[in-house]
């Protein structure tokens, strides 16, 4: 069906597929199949369905919640060979592509036409569009532009029995019928396998302004964020890096020239028409200074802009060098609750004697408390788990949620009942059953185990 070379069963070659970006888990799949087209994927699914074998769709395996892990007996259907951009359509500002195309490759292909694909998760050089669809990925620029679901106009799905079904489509009536595209985006491979994607492209902004505010504390930086929003400004990005992370970055090969005695740094970026940007930047700078910034740097050119972003973009890499393991947490709270929640995350990390670095999309209230640990130290691992759970409960209590962009996967199933009641979880289970009545698609993901009465 796909050629012998594209069915992997040898233990050595399966190693690559036994974990994803959530490195604490290792689940070797039974086999890996790599179809090259929608038709091949359909044939593979039809066969697996007939045999009753569970299926885990997988993109680049960069996910941070274990969504691409294969539970016992499951076969991974990977999109690595489905990596063609089928069409870029500038007159309609659309592109059609296979799910295995890397996020940055899509923007590269659109750029000659003055267009780009807006969602830019931090892993964009490595992650695939299919994976972005599965996770409804975010990124630093979704404050202004929104998340993946806004840019997916149509999908071709391989259903659990292999049937190919087209849903949505930019030329179709967007108000007719249920929004199945919206439902499938973010479903973490639990409903169907995405085999073709239609995306909306945007015109490239004419110009960009990037500022870096240096603050004495994370709380002060968070106050600046509230002030900037209160000004009626809509930056493309508002990102905070805390002291621990700044120090990790500055001690690494990624040193970005951030002052190591600063409590926090805030990256503010505006994009759009050249004429309005200096005024936006001036007003944002005033907000930062009023919130107590000790200095505000402004990038004068593309090189300086990259330097200001460096500390943010390389934060995970730098943190990863400080300890053997890094748990990249993810939660969202209402933006105005950030200062309080950050203070309490600090308390939790001190109580459990853990190092937590915060790097986050402050404009969206999307936190990434990153916990450093060594997985060989079992006692420490226990403290990490307890602290994680408390941080999740804290974010929910503050009116937030347990994941803003990384998904539930296997990692956060246990937290689902913190945010959803039994009826809501049953409703989700019911919807999954409509697509996948036998539970063959990505079993053991997203939904918590049924409660034993």
């Amino acid at each position: 069906m796909v050629g012998r070379d594209h069915v992997i069963t040898e233990a050595g070659r399966l190693l690559v597929y036994e974990s994803d970006g959530l490195s604490a888990y290792r689940w070797p799949p039974r086999a890996v199949v790599l179809p090259a087209s929608a038709e091949e994927a359909s044939g593979v699914l039809r066969l697996l369905h007939a045999e009753g074998i569970p299926v885990v769709p997988r993109g680049a395996g960069t996910g941070l919640s274990g969504g691409a892990l294969a539970p016992e007996g499951a076969v991974v259907v990977g999109t690595a060979r489905m990596n063609r951009i089928l069409a870029v359509d500038p007159p309609n500002r659309l592109a059609r592509l296979q799910p295995g195309v890397l996020n940055t490759r899509l923007s590269d292909a659109a750029r000659p036409f003055g267009l780009y694909y807006a969602p830019d998760p931090s892993s964009q050089a490595a992650c695939t569009i299919g994976g972005n669809v599965a996770e409804n990925s975010g990124g630093p620029h979704c404050l202004k532009y929104g998340v993946t679901s806004r840019y997916i106009s149509g999908l071709t799905l391989a259903m659990v029995d292999g049937e190919l079904v087209q849903i949505g489509g930019a030329g179709r009536d967007p108000e007719a019928g249920y929004d199945l595209v919206g439902l499938v985006v973010g479903s973490e491979g639990c409903f169907a396998m995405v085999v073709e994607v239609e995306v909306r492209l945007l015109p490239l902004p004419e110009a960009v302004r990037t500022l870096l505010g240096i603050f004495e504390s994370v709380e002060a930086a968070a106050r600046a964020v509230t002030a900037i929003i209160g000004e009626g400004l809509l930056p493309a990005a508002l990102e905070i890096i805390d002291q621990g992370t700044i120090r990790a970055v500055e001690a690494s090969v990624y040193a970005a020239g951030y002052p190591t005695d600063a409590g926090a740094a805030l990256v503010v970026e505006f994009d759009g028409t050249e004429a309005g940007l200096d005024e936006d930047a001036r007003r944002a700078e005033a907000c930062c200074l009023a919130a107590g910034a000790r200095e505000v740097r402004r990038a004068r050119d593309a090189t300086e802009r990259l330097a200001l972003w460096q500390g943010r973009k390389k934060a995970f890499g730098a943190m990863g060098r400080v300890a053997p393991d890094l748990l990249v947490q993810d939660a969202t709270v209402p933006r105005t609750r950030l200062p309080e929640v950050l203070g309490r995350i600090g308390e939790i990390s001190r109580r459990y004697d853990l190092t937590v670095g915060n790097v986050f999309h402050a404009g969206d209230g999307n936190l990434h408390p990153n916990i450093l640990f060594d997985r060989r130290n079992r006692e420490e691992l226990e403290r990490v788990e307890k602290a994680s759970k408390e941080i999740m409960a804290l974010c929910v209590e503050a009116g937030g949620t347990i994941t803003g962009e990384h998904g539930v996967g296997v990692d956060k199933r246990g937290y689902m009942r913190l945010v959803h009641g039994a009826d809501e979880i049953e409703a989700m289970r019911g919807v999954k059953a409509v697509f996948d009545p036998r539970g063959l698609f990505n079993p053991g993901k997203v939904l918590p185990d049924e409660e034993v009465p």
């Binding site: 007159p91 929004d179 919206g182 973010g186 105005t336 937030g400 409509v434």
Partner: protein, 414 residues
């Protein structure tokens, strides 16, 4: 008292229940219920599910659709659930009860220089619940995104009376399957939306309309396409035809292309100049109160009439849709969203042949063509694009999960 009204008297006492009520697409309800609490509303649906009569949820009543519900049914009005629940301007989010009108919400948010950037017909009298239930698109969606992109959470009462709290009130949320997306635009077939949390936007400091006029709509297609492919994205761009404005700006000719440019004062001037340069033609700039009144006229243009038709295609095919509409005999008003390639048409005396022809054009373009309102006979005219059978099966199974007794909007497909 009818059997239906009698059955409801126990759950919706006194003021909340009255017999009869205004017709829905020509069908007469046995009763109209206006619950004042979520519990009452859930009680109505439980009774309906147990007794097997239909329920038609209604908000502002601006968008009933052409299909009459099957009888017997009751109208379930959300207008007893009104008001803002929480509004935190610094979070740019608001939660409000479903029966609150968009006009009321724009007043509240406007005091903080914020707004819901949606401009569907009759916007002020639509309800927030109706916005969620219809997911209605409007020209500002071209730049701001659609209701689906900004409804962060909602509370739903399912057909069998379960109360589900879906989504949340934060900007980014991937905790579980996105049932909010399934609900937005489900048109009352899965449940009754009782409360909604939306993302708000800063209200632009300045807005101008760039207006180009011509005797025939087709002469404006090329400039409209130039706007839609320009390197700068306007707030919206529409082509209105068969339209004469009553605003102070003087007579608008038979067709107008109106590009809405919004933002900070300096940006608006620069964006307008860039659009002008890209399009090459010459626009007249309209500002201030005159622009506001023009936007309002356009919002409601081609939305009232004996028959209202909505057509969809790709942006580059909008000229083909306009040509098809131009061939329709009789008085016709049309509003094309030239950024996304949709057309709304209002016609008097739309014939079966003309309607079939419109659907044929849309089908050839791979697009859509639906009757938003109009004479029932038109619904019987053959020629609709065939639906995908797997999608239909998914649709009916999803519906059964949320409304197992099938009481909601009997007779309507979503």
């Amino acid at each position: 008292m009818s059997r239906v009204a009698a059955a409801l008297a126990g759950v919706a006492p006194g003021e909340a229940l009255r017999e009869g009520g205004p017709a829905v697409a020509g069908a007469r309800p046995d009763a109209t219920v206006t619950p004042t609490s979520v519990e009452q509303l859930a009680g109505v649906l439980k009774v309906a599910s147990a007794q097997g009569f239909g329920v038609v949820p209604v908000g502002g009543g601006t968008d009933p659709g052409p299909v009459p519900p099957l009888e017997p049914f009751v109208v379930l009005s959300t207008r007893g659930l009104r008001g803002v629940e929480t509004y935190e301007p610094a979070d740019l989010t608001m939660s409000a009860w479903a029966g609150t009108t968009l006009g009321e919400l724009q007043d509240v948010t406007g005091a903080h220089a914020q707004w819901l950037p949606f401009d569907p017909p009759s916007m002020p009298t639509r309800t927030l619940g109706g916005l969620a239930a219809t997911g209605v698109r409007s020209p500002l969606c071209a730049s701001y995104g659609a209701p689906r992109d900004h409804i962060l959470g909602l509370t739903l009462v399912t057909g069998d009376g379960r109360v589900l709290r879906l989504g949340g009130r934060v900007m980014k949320n991937v905790a579980g399957f996105d049932l909010v997306k399934l609900l937005v635009g489900s048109r009352g077939t899965l449940g009754v939306v009782v409360s909604v949390t939306v993302r708000l936007f800063p209200r632009p400091e300045r807005e101008v309309a760039l207006v180009m006029e011509a005797d025939r709509a087709e002469d404006l297609v090329a400039p409209a396409r130039a706007v839609a492919t320009a390197p700068v994205l306007p707030a919206s761009a529409v082509l209105a035809a068969g339209f004469r404005t009553t605003a102070a700006g003087g007579a608008v000719r038979a067709a107008s292309l109106v590009v809405r440019v919004a933002g900070a004062p300096g940006t608006v001037a620069a964006d307008a100049a860039r659009l002008q340069a890209h399009v090459g033609g010459s626009f007249r700039t309209v500002e201030g109160a005159e622009a506001a009144s023009l936007f309002e006229d356009l919002r409601d243009h081609a939305a009232a009439g004996e028959a209202v038709v909505r057509m969809a295609s790709l942006p580059a095919s909008v000229g083909d849709l306009l040509a098809a509409v131009a061939a329709v005999p009789g008085p016709v008003h049309v509003l094309a969203d030239t950024m996304v390639g949709t057309v709304r048409m209002a016609a008097e005396g739309l014939s079966g042949e003309a309607w079939a022809e419109l659907r044929g054009v849309a089908a050839r373009l791979g697009g859509g063509c639906v009757l938003e309102r109009g004479p029932l006979e038109l619904l019987d005219v053959p020629g609709a694009s065939p639906a995908d059978s797997r999608v239909e099966a998914l649709t009916s199974e999803l519906r059964a999960r949320f409304d197992p007794s099938g009481v909601l909007w009997r007779g309507r497909s979503p």
